[in-house]
Subunit: 267 residues, 2 copies
């Protein structure tokens, strides 16, 4: 998917919502737990209930790897289901991988060929070697951690004359283009978006941290939106666990619709 196609999808759906598919078996309603593929069946119900209001989905690999080979299989089923039934969606693997050379190429093959993701999140600690192999795929994206939403982001990402997150963004501008690179910028420090947009005016940002972590859509939009939207705002638990029992699909529809309705007012 290109930058322009993503922007057109956002305009068509009047939403820049990304839904995080991080299913925990203990929080999944019984009727899914009794099936052969509980994680996949739960994901399927959530996707069908929310796809009208979302432009992107983002499974996090940890929630699948915890089930070993079976979890990996259900991740594969989830991506295939999205591709087949909701082909307009942008599908991100939140993997935050961080490896180099031949190993990074293996990860790129794993996520862009074995699995058919549009994008993968990456940790830039090891520099360009760990990002470049992902940029060799036409239409695929590397989403690089920059300024994250967690508390201990301040351990290394912030501080000093040129903070690490700013260094990462400045360097990465030389590695890729707006058509294959995004950055992760957390919603919990909205006042920083202004400085961040000065470094990267045109790129898309993947923004976690709205809802449970305290960020708001309005503040992210105020400081972070650009002429092509430039934002994918993620919500995970607030949507997939909006309902606790048999109403989970309906409740997730309502939660996704509420966010999309707000987003529509900014587009």
């Amino acid at each position: 998917m290109t930058y322009q196609q993503l922007y057109e999808n956002i305009l068509a759906k009047k939403s820049f919502l990304c839904i995080g598919l991080d299913p925990e078996i203990s929080r999944i309603p019984d009727r899914f737990r009794r099936t052969e593929h509980p994680i996949f069946e739960f994901n399927k119900a959530i996707i069908d209930a929310t796809a009208r209001y979302a432009v992107a989905y983002k499974p996090n690999s940890a929630f699948y790897e915890v089930f070993g080979a079976q979890g990996w299989n259900e991740l594969e089923m989830t991506v295939s289901y999205i591709r087949k039934h909701h082909p307009e969606l942008f599908v991100i693997l939140d993997a935050k991988r961080c490896d180099i050379g031949n190993t990074a190429r293996m990860y790129a093959r794993a996520f862009f060929e074995t699995l058919d993701f549009d994008a993968v999140t990456l940790s830039p600690y090891m520099g360009q070697d760990s990002v470049k192999p992902f940029l060799d795929y036409e239409g695929k994206w590397a989403i690089i951690l920059a300024a994250t939403s967690n508390e201990s982001a301040q351990d290394f990402e912030f501080g000093g004359e040129e903070p690490l997150y700013a260094k990462v963004m400045s360097k990465a501008l030389q590695w890729g283009t707006i058509d294959n690179t995004m950055f992760v910028v957390g919603a919990t420090r909205p006042e920083m978006f202004k400085a961040i947009r000065e470094i990267c005016p045109d790129h898309f940002f993947l923004v976690p941290g709205v809802g449970a972590q305290g960020g708001t859509v309005s503040e992210v939009v105020r400081y972070g939106m650009n002429s092509h939207c430039g934002l994918l705002i993620n919500s995970s638990r607030g949507i997939i666990y909006a309902g606790q029992g048999d109403d989970c699909a309906e409740a997730s529809t309502a939660a996704a619709k509420a966010l999309a309705d707000e987003m529509a007012t900014y587009l």
Copy 2:
């Protein structure tokens, strides 16, 4: 495994060799490729041929994820095989994961409970939140990227008054102990080991970059060894692809023995 147990294993085997299990299907001899579990069968042959000369093995998750659920299954078979037939070995998953809170806890469960690894490599970009959940497991280890061996390590890890790798080590000293924390320090900049040992005199270092990448055992030992050895030197391709055909097991034995023989002279 404790620090002391690891040191005793090193003394008993007269080796601080770690073998990287990064099997590529195109480089595996035909007789393995014709089996139902080619990656596992190849690993098994290499492990049995080299375990006498190694204290640790280190599969890298990328080389398994590229095969999807089947790859994950063969990774599981590989760890189980080591546990059953070579219980003295220290088994590291080279995963370089980088996530926080609940997600980091899922990764810890995936690698320390679903799979029975002793240790996992981590990228520290997001700070303490991404390491702490792994330190809550008694006898298990977090191996944190510090100064890596790749060329673009200089993009972010080095430079400035307090380089990022030094910040990472200084901070991480407050998170864990010598019994649950190691650091990745590449062999390609041996002259840096002296400064690094001043920050972390007692910790174990996992050292990649010997062989193909240009580092040597003698230089790493000269600058990096401490009173409890403090080094696990990794070799991957130099051992697992030492032979190209049906002699691959014998050739890997010889390659591992050569490294272990050199290591014995330093212990």
